[in-house]
């Protein structure tokens, strides 16, 4: 029986909430000094702070959070940063929520350290911290005594590797490829490009990396420039889909759609459509929906007193023309089965 | 206060003009007159209200009460353009010149000559430059080419440009607020020459000055202001510098 069966989920949810209510009434309003297993007032209220909603990726994440919370009957408040670069704004939002009576916090920080202060506050109050998608810097967390209960995220290196392997497949006679990254120095972008490099076969060389600030227009301009510099370029690896669509446009402008292979990472709807239409040659889809959903599940498991696994890899899938239809039909949910340790914990 | 003279000689009649800025009463019942073809001086201590009165006459401020009659007709001045149209030109204390613009651009500021091309009006630069040259040479003003930027001109030259602007547009009254205050001896002499030439050409001049010798030298009539009021007027040839000073300080009542 799959834990994704709505009936099972509802039953679980009801059981959880009843259990939590009983616990709450039993313990009264006094703070228990329990360890990481039990939360102070297990009212099951969850707060989530994610990155900017100006990117459909995080909209899916929000959807996953809300859907799972709804079906499990867990009250959830989701706050997003004003934009994908608003580090201090996001920290302010978390600090605001930290003062309120949530028992579990799902955090998706813009940078490795911008939410450390808020998270430290939470740890001091013994709230459960579930880190999703973008990792909190481990050293900083340890120094603040605020290591999250679990980290659920896409292994960006793994995602890049999938893209690298696929690129090698697409270029049987080898060639030169270029990488278009996000903001210069960004960890996620760096990890994906690193993975991509690792996944490349011996006859495909990564010759140039440029930064395009996660901006579609800049990616277009830079891709045009790179193509100009390397007319024999065989492919592009792009750190996210939004930029990937810009690169696709640049390649189309040069009249080389299909001849220059483009693979990007994320899995937003427009990119999947582009794969179907042949403008992109592959997309490594992440499932922010699943990440969000697992975030809530982690909170549920923690509320039940379970010890959470330190790291959980979120599913990724390579979408090509062959399975684009399936991917589109299921989006934002994964179209393939994936390991969900939290479901297991809750059984 | 005024000596007997035919009414038609009066170019400007200010009657009971009052103006307050918030709680500060800048002008209180100010009345004075000005005759055609004369240099009339307005003197007073700092803060007496001279510049404020000038700004009322040139259309920048609107008095709360009182009337201003010019050339026989009562004036409703709601903007500097109204004043200019009536024939009142002003050379402000700060000269009101835009440093980054050229001499001819400043001369024609807000009265630019245009050529119409369909619905659009384009600047007629050639005509303005020509007219500017004429204006400058008529007044024998020593200014380098009218294409020079005002920024490059000396204090006296800028003053000359400002006066040229005031005098060059067939104005009946030219008001000058402290025209030589910041100038050296030579330049002051040149500007005074200009003022007398203006008078000789038929303009009436209202001169605000701290310089008594200048006032006694140039003017036909002197009005004194103190603390927002007009406290007295004399024909210059019938008074002395000392009397003026006493009126200013209040030692003498009007």
């Amino acid at each position: 029986m799959s834990a994704r069966n709505p009936a099972t989920r509802t039953a679980l949810g009801v059981a959880l909430v009843t259990g939590a209510a009983l616990l709450a009434s039993a313990c009264g309003s006094s703070d228990s000094s329990g360890g990481a297993a039990t939360t102070a007032n297990g009212n099951g209220k969850v707060a989530a702070v994610i990155k900017g909603l100006d990117n459909p990726f995080f909209q899916s994440m929000e959807q996953g959070l809300n859907d799972q919370a709804k079906s499990a009957g867990v009250p959830v408040t989701v706050q997003a940063a004003a934009s994908i670069t608003d580090t201090t704004g996001q920290a302010d939002k978390l600090n605001g929520l930290a003062g309120q009576d949530f028992s579990c916090f799902v955090v998706n920080p813009i940078s490795g350290t911008n939410l450390i202060q808020g998270v430290a506050q939470l740890a001091a109050k013994k709230k459960t911290i579930v880190n999703i998608d973008s990792p909190i810097d481990a050293k900083a967390a340890k120094a603040a005594n605020a290591t999250p209960a679990t980290y659920i995220g896409t292994d960006n290196v793994q995602a890049g590797e999938l893209a690298g392997k696929r690129m090698t497949q697409l270029l049987p006679s080898g060639g030169a490829v270029a990488a278009i990254g996000g903001i210069s120095g960004d960890v996620t972008s760096g990890a994906r490009i690193e993975g991509f490099s690792k996944g490349l076969g011996s006859n495909v060389k990564l010759t140039q990396t440029v930064a395009a600030n996660w901006d579609r227009q800049e990616a277009l301009t830079q891709a045009t420039n790179v193509l100009r510099a390397n007319p024999a370029l065989a492919g592009f690896f792009v750190a996210n889909d939004d930029m990937g669509l810009g690169v696709a446009r640049a390649v189309a402008n040069a009249g080389k759609t299909g001849k220059i292979k483009i693979i990007s990472v994320d899995g937003i709807k427009d990119a999947l459509e582009a794969v179907k239409a042949g403008q992109l040659d592959g997309v490594v889809a992440q499932y922010p929906y699943a990440i969000g959903s697992m975030g809530i599940l982690a909170c549920q498991a923690a509320a039940k007193g379970k010890t959470l696994p330190a790291t959980v890899k979120a599913p990724v899938a390579l979408v090509t023309k062959a399975n684009a239809d399936k991917a589109l039909a299921a989006t934002p949910k994964p179209f393939q089965a994936y390991a969900n340790p939290f479901q297991d914990l809750l059984k | 206060m005024t000596t007997s003279s035919p009414a038609q000689d009066l170019l400007l009649e200010v009657t009971d003009v009052s103006l307050a800025f918030g709680s500060v009463q800048a002008l209180k019942d100010v009345s004075l007159t000005l005759r055609r073809g004369e240099v009339t001086a307005l003197v007073g201590d700092n803060g007496a209200g001279k510049s404020t009165l000038v700004r009322c006459i040139s259309g920048i401020h609107h008095p709360d009460a009182g009337t201003i009659a010019f050339d026989g007709a009562e004036l409703e001045l709601s903007s500097p353009e109204d004043a200019r149209e009536a024939g009142i030109e002003t050379v402000h204390q700060n000269l009101a010149l835009v440093e980054d613009l050229t001499v001819w651009q400043n001369l024609f500021l807000n009265r630019e000559l245009v050529r119409k091309v369909g619905p659009l009006a384009f600047l007629d630069r050639g005509a303005m430059q020509r007219q500017a040259k004429e204006m400058v040479s008529t007044l024998a003003v020593n200014v380098p080419a009218v294409q020079s930027r005002v920024r490059r001109l000396s204090g006296g030259q800028r003053q000359a440009v400002a006066i040229c602007r005031a005098a060059g547009f067939s104005s009946k009254l030219v008001i000058m607020d402290e025209p030589t205050a910041a100038l050296g001896v030579q330049e002051t002499a040149k500007v005074e020459e200009l003022i007398l030439r203006l008078r000789d050409e038929g303009h009436a001049v209202l001169l605000i000055s701290h310089n008594f010798e200048q006032v006694m030298r140039l003017s036909n009539q002197v009005w004194v202001m103190r603390a927002g009021r007009c406290v007295g007027g004399r024909r210059t040839d019938q008074t002395t510098g000392q009397e003026i000073v006493s009126l200013i300080t209040g030692a003498l009542a009007a």
């Binding site: 100006d54 579609r216 | 002003t90 400043n106 500021l109 807000n110 294409q147 020079s148």
Partner: protein, 328 residues
């Protein structure tokens, strides 16, 4: 254009004047953008011949078009001693307006109108708040920056709208030789702006308002009306730039476009326009925009590490600002 200072003397002093000019730092300061651009072209052209290829020049000119239009709008505002920090967000709002109308089947022209209308509304708001409510321009446009960006997110629900239109596609990819249509449009805008600034009464009033508001008021110019007008111009041009942006990337998205804001101010400063108002040219900021675009293009062609690109741009802008101190 720097005008003659002292009276033009006889022919024998003219050669004197030229060499004197060359030694005069003020002269170089006035033309910093052109000098910089020529230097860049020479250096990059020598290091990588592809830089000067027809194809590359075409893509550079097209890439610069949007920035040119935004910089021209910004120039009008800065000429009145103001600043418009909302240009990029207004462009975003314009793009989103375009997308929303387009997605509902409005067609190309209605969508273009929507983009320009959105820009106009923001421009009017800026103008009224600065000129009538007398709030500092920095604060006002900072506020409209956020408001417009937020409005764009709300209207679009955070989702991009793909815009595939044959006409728009031809606009963004076609042209005459190396001059793409979008660049030509930007050039037309620049020429119109130049004529407006230097050949109309309004243009003189703009420079007067910035150069000396007291002088302008004393001669009867309504500085309030001039200020409202320049913010509206900036907004309208941002709306216009939005259309070109949608054409370029083939989608209307609520992206922040922050780099456009910073680059528009940089281009204006590079162009020798004084941030204190009163002194402006149009050709300067246009050259500044071209310089910034060529800089990024050249660095990428040379394969310079991505970490050095922002540093190079920063150095160039600071150098240019430093040079403008020597303007007479």
């Amino acid at each position: 254009m720097p005008s003659t200072t002292t009276a033009a003397g006889p022919a024998e002093t003219r050669s004197e004047t030229w060499s004197a000019r060359a030694k005069d730092v003020g002269f170089w300061a006035e033309w910093a953008a052109l000098v910089g651009l020529v230097a860049l072209i020479v250096i990059f052209g020598a290091l990588n011949p592809t830089f000067l290829s027809a194809g590359n020049i075409e893509s550079m000119l097209v890439a610069a078009a949007i920035l040119i239009i935004l910089s021209v709008g910004q120039t009008f505002v800065i000429a009145t001693a103001g600043i418009d920090l909302s240009v990029a967000s207004t462009m975003t709002l314009g793009a989103v307006a375009f997308g929303q109308v387009y997605a509902r089947g409005g067609g190309l022209w209605a969508s273009c109108l929507a983009a320009v209308a959105a820009g106009t509304v923001v421009g009017i708001a800026n103008g009224l708040l600065v000129a009538r409510a007398k709030i500092t321009d920095f604060i006002v446009t900072l506020g409209t920056l956020s408001a417009a960006a937020g409005l764009a997110l709300i209207l679009s629900d955070g989702k991009p709208v793909t815009v595939i239109d044959a006409g728009l596609l031809k606009l963004s990819t076609g042209g005459i030789g190396v001059l793409g249509w979008t660049f030509l449009i930007a050039a037309v805008v620049a020429v119109a702006a130049h004529v407006t600034l230097f050949r109309t009464r309004f243009g003189t009033h703009v420079l007067a308002t910035g150069g000396s508001p007291e002088a302008a008021t004393a001669t009867g110019i309504s500085t309030a009306r001039v200020k409202i007008a320049v913010y509206v111009i900036s907004g309208v041009l941002a709306g216009f730039a939005a259309i070109l942006l949608v054409g370029r990337i083939g989608a209307a998205e609520p992206a922040a476009n922050t780099s456009f804001l910073l680059n528009s101010v940089a281009a204006v400063v590079l162009g020798g326009v004084s941030l204190f108002g009163g002194r402006a040219t149009i050709i300067g900021p246009v050259l500044g925009a071209l310089l910034l675009t060529a800089l990024v293009n050249g660095l990428t062609l040379l394969g310079v590490s991505q970490f050095y690109q922002p540093l190079s741009v920063g150095i160039v802008v600071v150098l240019a600002a430093f040079l403008t101190r020597f303007q007479r």
